[in-house]
């Protein structure tokens, strides 16, 4: 396959650049299909990185490798290293559950727990991990709902069932739920693809706010969304990372021909 084309970083490489999450030579497969082929990426702290690519190029699988959700798939295999703050996530000494609490995930289709109220949904991660202090739970729930931009809409109805909200509100509820366990990294798998444009816009604004404190990695089909929301973009095709760089550069002047063809819609 074609070689990876990377932009040289502007800063001097001897400087201490804050990379929150580093993936080194990650290859993954499930059910016999090789989905990710030797991808190496570095994700900057307090920045949004987008992964784009056509369907089936392995971006969702790669995302799941970052918080050890991939191993739950059928016949899943994975090689390579994923370093969070320098520590290998896949080493035998580390409990996968602990890492999943540091790296939160939001899924494509909003999936609030159906039998729980809004409050319980957000507090679920905390409660089931042993937090019992009601005061702390209240504080966290309020803080997370405020960050997700949902507090003013639901503050009087916290005991209502989570499934009673609209699609966009449900997705924001899921984001609040993911934030409640105080992660450091937030992974988002096509978070707005099932939502209407106005809700998507609200969620994009929210991402821009969250960027100040979290590292966010977003997989998206929508290239306009990638240009609006992300600082860095990686293009994946057939399991390979084809090009990675600043969003402005990828979309204004892509170095790789496949990337140029994809972003301009010339893929067959």
């Amino acid at each position: 396959m074609e070689t990876v084309t990377k932009t040289p970083t502007k800063e001097n490489s001897t400087e201490d650049i804050k990379y929150k999450l580093i993936a080194e030579n990650v290859s993954a497969s499930y059910d016999g299909i090789v989905a990710v082929k030797n991808v190496s990426l570095k994700f900057r702290d307090r920045a949004v990185t987008a992964l784009i690519g056509p369907s089936g190029c392995g971006k969702t699988t790669f995302l799941r490798c970052l918080n050890r959700m991939h191993e739950l798939a059928k016949n899943a295999t994975l090689t390579g290293k994923v370093l969070l703050d320098g520590e290998d996530l896949y080493s035998n000494k580390v409990d996968p559950i602990v890492n999943r609490r540091k790296i939160g995930m939001v899924f494509q289709k909003p999936n609030p727990f159906p039998t729980m109220s809004i409050y319980d949904n957000v507090a679920c991660g905390l409660k089931l991990n042993g937090v019992k202090d009601k005061k702390i739970l209240d504080e966290v729930v309020e803080g997370c709902l405020k960050m997700a931009g949902l507090w003013t809409e639901v503050k009087d109805d916290l005991k209502k069932p989570g499934m009673g909200l609209s699609g966009g509100q449900q997705q924001r509820l899921c984001i609040a739920r993911a934030l409640a366990i105080q992660p450091e990294v937030l992974l988002m798998d096509e978070p707005t693809s099932a939502l209407d444009p106005i809700t998507s816009q609200k969620i994009e604004e929210m991402i821009r706010e969250l960027k100040k404190e979290y590292t966010i990695i977003i997989v998206t089909h929508n290239m306009q969304q990638a240009t609006r929301v992300s600082d860095y973009t990686g293009f994946m095709y057939l399991g390979d990372l084809v090009e990675f760089g600043e969003t402005k550069q990828i979309f204004e002047n892509p170095r790789n021909e496949t990337t140029a063809k994809y972003v301009q819609g010339q893929f067959g």
Binding site: N67, M69, L72, I97, V98, N99, R100, R101, G104, M105, F107, K109, N111, F113, P114, T115, M116, C124, G125, L128, N129, K159, K160, C174, R177, A178, I181
Partner: protein, 306 residues
């Protein structure tokens, strides 16, 4: 591209005898409805039959007294039988429900391998087992070893009958819970067993309750296993160890007697049995499945008042 001329050409080939299709539609509707009615008729007939024949025997004495001497003027009642059935259902559920639900959880969450397939196969075989064989098995295992007929032998046999039903329905209900809820749980860093017990199980609540109620209704009416294990008696329960009476058993005994009064009592007992199963069904649903909304409404009212 299909041109307008081609479209017109193709349309000519459709069948346009709409009249015939409307008639056919109506005929099929009638057939389907009549099948439904044919299916319901036996149920309604049984209910009417039971009520009309058994109503004569109903009275407070009937429900609470012990059976009197056969053929005498004081026929007594079926009190012990009612108590026995309730006790049997209770103890069997105590054994069968936890094991069945756990088994269902195993099959659904951890059973996608050869071991799980084997367990599933044996479960299906057990579900089809003739219950009289199960009764004989309990007889040999418990009654002969211990030396007497007993309540817990009967419960043991009945729990074997209810186990495969609960396992199967639990597994099916759990499988219906979409994978995304489990994934959301894992992504929050919640351990697997907590995800299953807190999130998945509560989502599958409806199916689970239905399965359990089905099993309970089934065993409430099972007679064959009881024949070999509880013996039946004319006294109220004296302990887990002693023989006990049950409604299906009593109905069978009463209806085989030549006396009219006994037969009427048999009908009455049958009516009571049907009533019991219906009450369990409706009651449990009301408690488990409606309660949450009612509790929420209550809390809101309290909140508004304070």
């Amino acid at each position: 591209m299909i041109t307008p001329e081609q479209r017109a050409e193709f349309r000519k080939h459709f069948r346009y005898n709409v009249g015939r299709r409307i008639v056919l539609d109506k005929i099929v509707k009638v057939i389907v409805f009549s099948c439904v009615i044919i299916a319901i008729v036996p149920l309604v007939a049984i209910l009417i039959n039971t009520i009309s024949n058994g109503a004569a025997a109903l009275s407070w004495q009937f429900l609470t007294e012990i059976p009197g001497a056969v053929g005498s003027d004081e026929p007594g009642g079926i009190g012990p039988a009612i108590q026995g059935t309730i006790a049997l259902i209770g103890v069997s559920s105590l054994i069968g429900v936890p094991i069945g639900v756990m088994g269902g959880i195993f099959l659904s969450e951890y059973g996608n391998n050869r071991y799980g397939r084997t367990v599933r196969f044996f479960n299906d075989v057990l579900a089809e087992f003739p219950t009289i064989v199960i009764g004989v098995f309990a007889f040999v295992l418990i009654v002969l070893t211990v030396g007497n007929f007993s309540l817990w032998a009967g419960s043991f046999a009945l729990s074997i009958v209810m186990l495969p039903i609960i396992m199967r329905t639990t597994e099916e209900s759990l499988k219906l819970v979409p994978v995304t809820y489990r994934e959301a749980g894992y992504a929050l860093g919640i351990r697997r067993y907590r995800v299953v017990f807190t999130i998945v199980l509560s989502s599958a609540k409806n199916g689970l309750i239905t399965g359990i109620l089905l099993a309970v209704a089934r065993i409430a009416g099972e007679t064959a296993p009881l024949v070999f294990t509880i013996l039946g008696s004319s006294q109220f329960i004296s302990g887990l160890d002693g023989p006990v009476d049950a409604l299906p058993l009593r109905i069978w005994r009463l209806s085989s007697l030549p006396y009219d009064s006994a037969v009427t009592q048999g009908w009455g007992a049958a009516f009571i049995l049907i009533l019991m199963v219906l009450t369990i069904n409706i009651g449990v649903r009301y408690i488990f499945l409606r309660s949450k909304e009612k509790r929420i409404i209550k809390l809101r009212k309290l909140g508004a008042a304070s």
